[in-house]
Symmetry: C2
């Protein structure tokens, strides 16, 4: 917070060397002759924009935030924060500082100019340093705001009508310590150390203004968000996200993912082009699942395990036929299977953009792995999309025997930033 | 356990397609026309041996276990298990089944023939399936036995004299639930899903015989174990493992890492060529560390942050000079710095082979990330190497202000297996 945005903006130290073509400006010499190349402070000649640039960089600015339709990276670190200041100006300044730090890190730069060592021996390093030698690794940093944030700081009139806490669902076993939060940061990268570094340094910039509420490390993605990606598997061993909305389907994104101007009239119009993020920490009782036979597993999911085909079909992307019958006359896809209940055809056309990750958080003290799926989905209206879908699933999904929702949160993720914008100005107007 | 080793051995289903050159044997057709290629069951034409084979496979058999001097993979899943049966034959049979499953998985095969779907619809799948589409990813599976194991099953006479619980150390803040265990399995791979899959399927094979005690996911390696690897950084932002023993240094390995025949006379001779594994879960108070200035950080560690040079030198691999003085006459490397206290020159030549991983296990409920270093080291004698080193560090390491040891265990890792051996026969003789 003590760093004015102009200073943050002034230069970019690249972890991968020098970005852009501007003249280099060497900063304070290091004792011991350390690598000076890393210390050159430069502005990038131009912000990358448009399609993804080489070397694993995802453009930070654009019409929408990165990390939503960006082809899902391999790893994720997610944190929900409480705002602990009463001073809206401090929050606004933090959001401005975060914008610049986040943008820098997506270039592979350290969070703040000077970084780990450039401030000299008797200053606290401005970056924690553990990502110093690592490439950008397709890092994306996506921000979202919880309903509780808008009760303070004079933000009530800017609260989008759609941003309301989720209702309780049948079977919920939520741990309050893993729910909610004023602000969410989702950092995704192909290297977990890059994602963890990003979250840590943003939290650190917010010392005294925000405090960590809960966090989650995801080790493997469970959904493809682009037709260029193969469908990954969740910890039940099934391909997950076959029928997901894909980045290439602009019509589906407009209909299901991006908030339209008509959704947020008046002072909430800043959310146009944004999206609602629903996070659910789903503990999977994998040991119980692992004792069921293959047909039971396939009937629960509604797909084949090996190829991921809808039951009764042959290949993963074959059209689902809910009328198909088995030879015994029963539906090929059982009436309470996960795929049937969650499918748009049976939910008045509802779809979500899922972008979840597998997790294991050690053991549960009872001999089992504390493992599961950290469900993240983006949508245009959480209460018109996630809520009815989850109600249908909570009521009778066969999968409920094997899973437990232990954490829950909803956040409004603003649209992307233009060249001159930052998150502070975007939120406060 | 119910699977005789001959059956386990009979065939290898490769996740990556067919391994070797033998004739394929298609097994039961799948409903829905799923990918038959994956179902071909074959013996590999020959076990890979000697140097690492292509496609990310590490040979499972050899003089020593893989996963010790194997160039450290990017990710790790580690589990400590309690043996819950009273029947030694059950344990022995499990170790035999584990051997075959572990070997299969390092080839990229499913844990057990038949695997996820080959048993047909009305059998419980023999593999949990989440690694079906993933390459071997340099998976290594390393087993170790805790002191407590040898109190039962008639194994007392085979207990190596060096396998004794570690003493308490000053400052220890151990959680009993994260300490000890009868058996340890360390799975390392470049893809965390492959490592998690391996641990999960081995636990699963042990249902009724073993139960999980504690487990740890490591997201990033902190030590290089080969001269071919750059030194990674820990969560304090410093290069870690610069002075580590490297796989290429056979003399150092013989002196410091591998148990020699003379160390284990009599019925404990089976440990010849093995190594002791010390695991310490070290919580790092990163938020406190992040508030200290650069010089303090460098003085605590004894190295420069950017390049990792010993203080007073220029480059990472420059020789450490403990006599070097700063211009003010003080030692360049402070007397209580981590590097000085842990260095072989100040510990009668003691060295360890470190092979640790960074972790973040969510948040601690007090606004901080529950993050740190899962320290793993291999050595010839834990009580002659780790214990004096840790005593020296616990007494006065400046780093103690920023870290806390919360978990601890020691295991005897047997030598590698010959072509005809399995872990059951090796342990029970």
């Amino acid at each position: 917070m003590s760093l004015p945005s102009s200073e943050l903006r002034a230069s970019v130290t690249s972890r991968r060397g020098v970005i852009g073509t501007g003249a280099g400006l060497a900063v304070g010499a290091l004792a011991g002759g350390a690598a000076y190349g890393l210390m050159r402070e430069e502005m990038p000649a131009a912000h990358p924009a448009g399609p993804a640039v080489p070397d694993g960089q995802v453009p930070f600015r654009g019409v929408h935030q990165a990390g939503i339709v960006t082809p899902a990276q391999d790893r994720m670190h997610f944190v929900a924060l409480d705002v602990i200041t009463e001073d809206g100006e401090q929050l606004r300044a933090l959001l401005t500082a975060w914008t610049l730090a986040a943008e820098r890190m997506t270039y592979g730069a350290e969070a703040v100019p000077g970084g780990s060592v450039g401030g000299g021996p008797y200053r606290v390093p401005a970056d924690t340093g553990e990502a110093l030698d690592l490439p950008p690794s397709n890092l994306t940093i996506t921000i979202g705001y919880g309903p509780s944030l808008f009760d303070r700081f004079g933000l009530a009139h800017r609260k989008p009508a759609g941003l309301r806490e989720l209702p309780g669902f049948r079977g919920d076993d939520l741990d309050p310590a893993a729910c909610g939060g004023d602000i969410a940061i989702q950092a995704c990268a192909d290297d977990p150390q890059v994602a963890v570094h990003a979250v840590r340094n943003l939290i650190r910039l917010g010392f005294g203004v925000v405090a960590g509420r809960w966090s989650q490390l995801g080790f493997g993605r469970t959904s493809s968000t682009s037709t260029s990606q193969a469908t990954p598997r969740n910890l039940f061993g099934f391909k997950d996200g076959t029928a997901n909305i894909k980045a290439e389907d602009a019509a589906a994104l407009a209909r299901h993912v991006w908030v339209a101007a008509e959704d947020v009239p008046g002072a909430a119009e800043w959310m146009t082009g944004g999206s609602y993020l629903v996070a659910r920490r789903i503990r999977m009782h994998i040991e119980v699942w692992d004792r069921t036979h293959l047909q039971e597993q396939q009937d629960v999911i509604g797909r084949g395990k090996l190829a991921g085909e809808p039951l009764g079909q042959k290949a993963e992307f074959d059209a689902i036929n809910f009328s198909a019958k088995r030879t015994d006359g029963e539906p090929a896809i059982p009436l309470a299977s996960h795929v049937r209940l969650a499918h748009a055809d049976n939910l008045d056309g509802i779809k979500l953009l899922r972008r979840g990750y597998n997790f294991t958080d050690g053991s549960d003290g009872q001999g089992h792995l504390n493992a599961g799926l950290f469900f993240i989905a983006f949508m245009r209206d959480a209460h018109a999309q996630f809520v009815p879908m989850q109600r249908a699933l909570a009521a009778r999904d066969l999968l409920n025997e094997y899973i437990e929702h232990t954490g829950s949160a909803v956040f409004a993720c603003p649209p992307g930033l233009s060249e001159s914008q930052d998150w502070g100005a975007q939120l406060f107007g």
